[in-house]
């Protein structure tokens, strides 16, 4: 059974390009246009990785991470954040356990697929890539 990736972004083009890239890489992809929709998907079915934009209306990517972390069913789902805000993100905000990596926009779809692959391998091996990169 293919692993399921949830992509969250308010930009339709980004959803479209990431879905295609991930599907071509053999994953099953769900898309959501905001945090609320994403939470609904995440609580209803098993998600292996969440890729979320940071700046979205109603609920930011960070809010989504917090909400996922609060729910025991989704607390362990690794999240990959995409941000167009450059270096203006407060590192303090990124200490949430489920945030495994942050990618700056404009991003390379290739790099996203690589990261997803690493996240899933890491989860299988019991250690997150974030932890590994800290050790290294």
């Amino acid at each position: 059974m293919p692993q399921r990736i949830l992509v969250v972004d308010d930009e339709a083009h980004i959803l479209q390009v990431l879905s295609l890239k991930l599907r071509n890489a053999g994953y099953e992809v769900l898309t959501a246009v905001d945090g609320e929709e994403a939470l609904e998907y995440a609580t209803r079915q098993t998600i292996d990785v969440v890729i979320s934009d940071y700046q979205m209306p109603y609920m930011t990517g960070l809010d989504l991470c917090r909400a996922l972390a609060r729910n025991p069913a989704t607390a362990n789902v690794p999240v990959l954040l995409l941000t167009a805000r450059g270096h203006t993100l407060d590192p303090e905000d990124l200490t949430l356990r489920n945030i495994r990596d942050v990618l700056s926009k404009p991003f390379s779809p290739r790099a996203v697929v690589d990261l997803v692959q690493r996240l899933l391998d890491g989860a299988a091996g019991g250690a997150s890539p974030r932890v590994r990169s800290e050790v290294a």
């Binding site: 308010d10 930009e11 083009h13 980004i14 479209q16 390009v17 990431l18 295609l20 890239k21 071509n24 246009v33 700046q55 209306p57 109603y58 167009a84 805000r85 450059g86 203006t88 700056s104 926009k105 404009p106 991003f107 390379s108 779809p109 290739r110």
Partner: protein, 497 residues
């Protein structure tokens, strides 16, 4: 008086001579001397007395005169314009000369003292004028300035200091800082600066001063954070003996600088986000094409179309940003000419028509039957009308109506253009920020794409370039009416500004 004394002396001499004669006569009478001896003695004494009188009287008179002259001379010496005196007698000349010399010395001293005095008076007036000037400068400053002496007593404080720290300026002079300034931290800073006596470096400290008008009870109730942040500059002043003469303390309000810096970083952050978003799409789709992820011609065509749209979005964004910046910096090229607003609206309506037709939105034009010509930049005004109409079409659901109207206002000598729609309307909380850079109504981000700069640019064109006014009336769910007015003549525009 002195002449009188000389005469008295002569009289005493005469009496003494007579007394001697009488005494000799009496002694002789007792010792039985004969009368001739007595008469001889009397005669001799009389001759002596007479001779003495004849010889000494003119001498006495001359001495009297000389002394009188001397007296007049001395008395007149206080008047610098009269010569000291002409010596009346040879005998007195050395005295007169010595006295004249002494008086001359004193007169010279007096002269130099007088010139020193007037010099000092001039210097005093100059320094007084300078002091007033410096005080005027200090009082005109918005920064608080407090000058304290070596005993930490206030020498000078300007009105800003009194206002910021909440004390009475006039009664503060020569009082210890602790009695005048309630801000204990500031008092400690001033005392420390005085004690460290560092003349080479000025010290800068960031310090929050709570509002002196705020009730102390409220400040204690956890509202101490409310206050104004100041940059406190402390400079030690030294006297001629290289000792501490006092401390100059300056409080500079950092609020405006903080706001500007915050605005700048907000702008950079928002601009960066807005620029990165279309760029992300372009980069991602280019990579997809390079990696051969688009399997068929249809998908490839779709990718090209998205890349083209996003590229256009990016260049529109950059154009808007640059135009706003140019207007803000006052370096925009403005071509003022007579602009026919009716023709301009018709042209914009023609451009918007296909978009409106796509959504089955009817476009109405209601032009007043009067001349609607304004002096302005045709291209810029066209951009405003096109932008407002494009927004209306974007945020009006299918089958709606957009009405553009133009009329003249003779009272203000301006032309008023409005664009009304039957669209979504704008939430009241969004209205005040609608014309801000990069502001977008959260709920509508998905309704239509935008840079968040269109209305900000319109506001700049109408208000900064044309000295007009722009605004919006809107009710949520009932549609919006955007309007702007531009003065008919540039002279009128400038007069109104």
């Amino acid at each position: 008086m002195k002449a009188g004394k000389i005469s008295s002396l002569l009289l005493v001499l005469l009496i003494t001579a007579l007394a001697t004669v009488v005494r000799v006569f009496l002694m002789d009478a007792q010792s039985d001397l004969d009368a001739s001896v007595v008469s001889q003695a009397v005669g001799f004494a009389s001759v002596v007395a007479g001779a003495s009188f004849i010889v000494l009287a003119p001498v006495g008179i001359a001495i009297d005169r000389a002394i009188a002259n001397l007296r007049r001379g001395i008395e007149g010496a206080s008047d610098a314009n009269t010569p000291v005196f002409s010596p009346g007698m040879r005998l007195m000349r050395p005295v007169a000369r010595a006295f004249t010399a002494t008086v001359d010395v004193f007169r010279q001293r007096e002269q130099s003292l007088r010139s020193q005095l007037s010099d000092l008076e001039i210097r005093h007036r100059v320094s007084e004028a300078e002091r007033r000037q410096i005080e005027a400068v200090l009082h005109a400053l918005r920064d608080a300035v407090i000058v304290t002496d070596a005993f930490n007593e206030i020498v000078m404080a300007n009105q800003a200091a009194a206002n910021i720290l909440g004390f009475d300026r006039k009664t503060s002079i020569h009082k210890p800082i602790d009695e005048v300034i309630s801000d204990t931290t500031l008092c400690t800073l001033i005392r420390d600066a005085r004690d460290t006596a560092n003349f080479t470096d000025t010290r800068h400290v960031e310090h929050t001063v709570s509002d002196p008008k705020a009730k102390p009870g409220r400040a204690q109730a956890g509202q101490g954070a409310a206050g104004t942040v100041y940059d406190v500059t402390l400079a030690c002043v030294e006297n001629h003996k290289r000792e501490v003469a006092g401390v100059v303390t300056i409080l500079h309000d950092l609020t405006r600088e903080r706001e500007l810096s915050q605005m700048k970083s907000d702008f950079v952050s928002k601009a960066s986000h807005e620029l990165r978003t279309p760029l992300s799409s372009i980069r991602a789709y280019v990579e997809m094409l390079v990696d051969g992820e688009a399997t068929d011609e249809g998908a490839r065509h779709e990718f090209y179309r998205i890349m083209q749209n996003e590229t256009e979005r990016l260049s529109r964004l950059i154009d808007n940003m640059l135009n706003i910046s140019r207007i803000e910096a006052g370096i925009v090229q403005i071509d003022r000419e007579n602009v026919d607003i009716k023709a301009l609206v018709a042209r914009a309506a023609h451009t918007i028509e296909p978009q409106a037709r796509e959504k089955r939105i009817t476009l109405h034009q209601r032009m007043a039957d009067v001349d609607l010509t304004v002096e302005g930049d045709a291209d810029m005004l066209y951009q405003v009308v096109l932008n407002l109409m494009s927004n209306s079409v974007k945020y009006t659901p299918e089958g709606g109506r957009v009405t553009v109207a133009a009329d003249s206002d003779n009272l203000t000598r301006s032309v008023l253009v409005s664009v009304s729609d039957t669209g979504l309307g704008i939430p009241p909380d969004a209205l005040p920020r609608l014309f801000d850079k990069f502001f977008r109504v959260e709920n509508y981000k998905r309704v239509a794409k935008g840079t968040g700069l269109g209305l900000s640019l319109c506001k700049h064109i109408v208000e900064t370039v044309h000295h007009g006014q722009i605004g919006v009336d809107s009710k949520l769910g009932m549609g919006s009416k955007f309007w702007f007015s531009v003065p008919m003549t540039y002279a009128g525009a400038r007069a109104a500004a």
